[in-house]
């Protein structure tokens, strides 16, 4: 049953137009997984443990990849990092540039940090009654960044003191994200990227995290209902879910062009079903069905000329949402 779900979402099928990988790519590229942890080990003893772990378990499945459905191949998949072909390396480099080029394809995501990081920070500080003054308001909170991509949002959250797991089904992205940590000892020890799907993580790690973030992801998923369900499942009672989503026309430059067309030259079938913008009302209903209490919905507007995001009333184009998992003990207290 699990494997079927996996198949649907990350199953080397078409789960996301922008970040798509076909089964072919999946096969050739798995070998780069966490190849970077070796270089990280120079800075952080922890990374050493990571890579040791990886080598020990090499016979089974490399690194922290979870729930790959290419399981038949994973048994004897090589873990060395040199099996990539030239062509793929080029893609790899193109991707690397894009994720961390502040003024490139993902400019809008970088710019959005000035809004969404404070939104998440203040939401968590408020929700958890945090009193801090040392610049680490999220100290030791555990966060899963679902669909972390290049880590544009994971890194700032880690800098604020959180431990972040960045989860993304696209291997190139997690690799690049991991690479980007190399030069930053402040965040290196607080972030780990995992290549996999949220369903799989939810199946074993339910109620483990203080917060789950899915920023600019829900408009890409094939099955919104089960995606949201998994996100909620990861949360401890009282934990916070943050979702931001935008109308894709705004980001057409960054996304549609980026992966699907420019890099992989793939236009997936049946894109129309899940390319749609998710209206806040719909999301609210799904969340409430998952025992979540929606605390806040804010509209957002991008001003490309100023490369700046602004909070607005209108939630019809882009919005940010904060919901909290209802704590049954709290509910009981309330009744008393």
């Amino acid at each position: 049953m699990l494997s079927r779900k996996t198949l649907k979402l990350i199953g080397c099928g078409n789960y996301c137009r922008s970040c798509i990988l076909t089964s072919n790519n999946c096969k050739t590229l798995t070998s780069v997984k966490f190849g970077t942890s070796r270089s990280s080990s120079l800075h952080c003893p922890l990374a050493l443990t990571f890579s040791k772990l990886r080598y020990q378990k090499a016979g089974m499945c490399s690194g922290f990849q979870i729930g790959r459905n290419c399981s038949s191949k994973s048994q004897n998949r090589p873990v060395v990092t040199t099996t990539m072909d030239e062509e793929e390396l080029k893609h790899f480099q193109a991707l690397a540039k894009s994720w961390w080029d502040e003024t490139g394809d993902f400019e809008a995501l970088h710019a959005m940090n000035k809004l969404r990081v404070p939104f998440i920070r203040d939401g968590l500080v408020d929700q958890n009654d945090i009193v801090e003054s040392d610049g680490l308001p999220l100290k030791d909170l555990t966060i899963v960044d679902v669909g972390s991509g290049g880590g544009i949002l994971s890194e700032p959250l880690a800098r604020l003191g959180a431990f972040v797991i960045g989860l993304d089904p696209v291997e190139e992205s997690t690799t690049i994200a991991q690479l980007h940590l190399k030069e930053d000892p402040r965040v290196q020890c607080r972030v780990k990227y995992i290549n996999g799907s949220v369903e799989d993580l939810a199946s074993t790690e339910s109620e483990k995290f203080d917060a789950v973030v899915a920023s600019e992801v829900v408009e890409h998923v094939a099955d919104l209902v089960s995606f949201v369900e998994s996100c909620c499942k990861l949360l401890k009672p009282g934990g916070s879910l943050f979702i931001t989503t935008m109308n894709k026309t705004v980001l057409s430059k960054s996304l549609a062009v980026f992966a699907a067309e420019k890099v992989f030259k793939i236009v997936p079938e049946g894109t129309h079903d899940w390319e749609k913008f998710v209206p806040p009302e719909d999301l609210k209903v799904i969340l409430e069905n998952n025992n979540m209490d929606v605390k806040m919905i804010h509209g957002m507007l991008y001003l490309p000329v100023f490369r700046e995001w602004k909070w607005v009333k209108d939630t019809s184009i882009n919005y940010a949402l904060h919901a909290v998992k209802i704590d049954p003990t709290d509910v009981a207290d309330d009744r008393l």
């Binding site: 494997s3 990081v117 880690a158 000892p185 020890c189 995992i194």
Partner: protein, 471 residues
């Protein structure tokens, strides 16, 4: 397959536990490694008044208390002792600068050492009778304080010494070679700025603040373009003695050769800043103390330059203004007579204007004279530098509370935009004033006389000028 997945996730939990135990590692990451390489979040190069104030200001931000901040100063640590002797280098600190010092605990130290309040400022010129004066009662707060550069720097350094657990100061340490990443070919660079020091050590940082003065090494390394202008003028500075009075007025008179100013330093001393042609300056420097005192008195008192046409016209204009706005005209006060000067206090400096077209780039920000150096006409130079400090502190603090990489260009750009909006008009005004007052050609004299008179009578307009001059 499902079993497999389970195994991975057990591993995932282990990762998690390891991450959670990793914290102590964090501090170790930021210590000197074997190659004599040191890593810091922020390096400030240049510990003059502006750079030291920057370090002190950052040291007082609680959001930055976990960041490693290093201040480099090429000169050795000075052993300062306050003596009766006054220094010939002084600043007029604006209320905004004083606010900055109050915020980081420096102001009480300055006050306990030596500074003088300015309650009134009178500006007039030698070519006509027009005058502009600023009184305290027109201002909600005091206009400014005059303090010696040495006193300001010493006060900041004492404060820095008190917060040395937060700010590391490296004296006798010069940034000799600086490499800045993020050229056009590597816009996504996460790399460090590398600074080679004169002691052979290398410093690595995510944000380098250049406060290394007019000939900034940081600015050159960052390849930031500058516009320079030599005024072909020199400034003579000296400490003047006056007979004891309530000395709270700053005096500035525009002469055809340039402005002469006296700032109150104590009840018996004035700080002189006289801007004039290089030849005249050299001549003044060659004079005996007595002759120089005579020359200064003469410069403030004489009326040889009165331009008849302009003066008649402005007298009429003054009457006209009095009719429209009765009671608005100011009384002219007379400057005090200089009785002598402090031995060895006379010095001179060439004057110029240098402005960097950009104050920032990826991982670099310039502050103070490294970004802009101007004619000391309005006593604005260092106040603009302290304004940079306040704004850059605000931006770095914001970047830190947003969890951003501190050297991110989009934050630094906010600093640049905000500061250039402030600095450019001041530079233009001062440059314009300088040119305007550097002539005795009648139409220009007339124009500026009318300009001065109108601003004096029109209260609201004057308030605008005060606002401008003091923020």
């Amino acid at each position: 397959m499902a079993v497999n997945v389970m195994k991975h996730c057990v591993k995932c939990t282990r990762v998690w536990n390891q991450l959670a135990r990793c914290q102590p590692v964090l501090s170790r990451c930021y210590q000197t490694n074997n190659n004599g390489e040191q890593v810091a979040d922020i390096v400030i190069s240049g510990g003059g008044m502006v750079g030291a104030a920057m370090a002190c200001s950052l040291g007082h931000e609680s959001v930055l208390q976990n960041k490693k901040i290093i201040l480099l100063e090429a000169a050795p640590q000075k052993q300062f002792k306050l003596t009766e002797k006054l220094s010939n280098r002084t600043c007029t600190l604006s209320p905004a600068s004083i606010q900055l010092f109050e915020r980081c605990g420096v102001w009480p130290v300055i006050e306990s050492m030596r500074c003088q309040q300015v309650l009134r400022m009178q500006v007039w010129e030698s070519c006509s009778n027009s005058l502009i004066s600023f009184n305290q009662d027109e201002m909600s707060d005091e206009l400014a304080y005059v303090a010696e550069n040495d006193v300001i720097l010493e006060s900041i350094n004492r404060r820095l010494n008190e917060i040395k657990d937060r700010i590391e100061v490296m004296y006798s340490t010069k940034a000799e070679n600086i490499q800045i990443p993020g050229g056009l070919d590597e816009p996504d660079s996460n790399a460090w700025v590398n600074i080679l020091l004169n002691n052979g050590q290398t410093l690595k940082t995510k944000l380098l603040v250049g406060s290394d003065g007019m000939n900034s090494t940081v600015r050159k390394a960052a390849n930031l373009h500058t516009v320079s202008f030599d005024y072909n003028q020199k400034a003579i500075v000296a400490v003047l003695n006056i007979s004891e009075t309530d000395n709270n007025v700053a005096w500035q008179r525009f002469l055809p050769t340039g402005p002469i100013a006296m700032l109150p330093m104590s009840d018996t001393a004035m700080s002189l800043i006289w801007t004039t042609s290089p030849e005249h300056a050299d001549h003044l420097r060659s004079l005996s103390s007595e002759s120089l005192v005579d020359a200064v008195n003469d410069a403030f008192w004489h009326d040889r330059d009165i331009n008849q046409v302009a003066d008649n016209f402005t007298n009429n204009f003054q009457k006209l203004l009095n009719n429209i706005l009765p009671g608005e005209s100011s009384l002219r006060q007379l400057p005090p007579t200089i009785t002598g000067l402090q031995e060895g206090s006379v010095a001179s400096f060439p004057l110029g204007l240098t402005h960097a077209s950009n104050y920032v780039r990826h991982r670099v920000a310039l502050i103070g004279d490294a970004a802009h150096r101007m004619h000391p006409l309005a006593g604005q130079g260092v106040n603009l530098g302290f304004g940079d400090v306040a704004k850059l502190t605000e931006i770095i603090t914001k970047a830190a509370s947003d969890g951003s990489d501190l050297g991110t260009l989009s934050y630094l750009k906010e600093y640049e935009t905000s500061r250039q909006r402030k600095v450019l008009p001041v530079m233009a005004t001062i440059d314009g004033l300088q040119r305007l007052y550097h002539t005795d050609f009648t139409p220009v004299v007339l124009l500026r006389s009318l300009g001065l008179q109108a601003t004096n009578a029109l209260g609201p307009l004057k308030n605008k000028i005060i606002e401008k001059a003091s923020d």
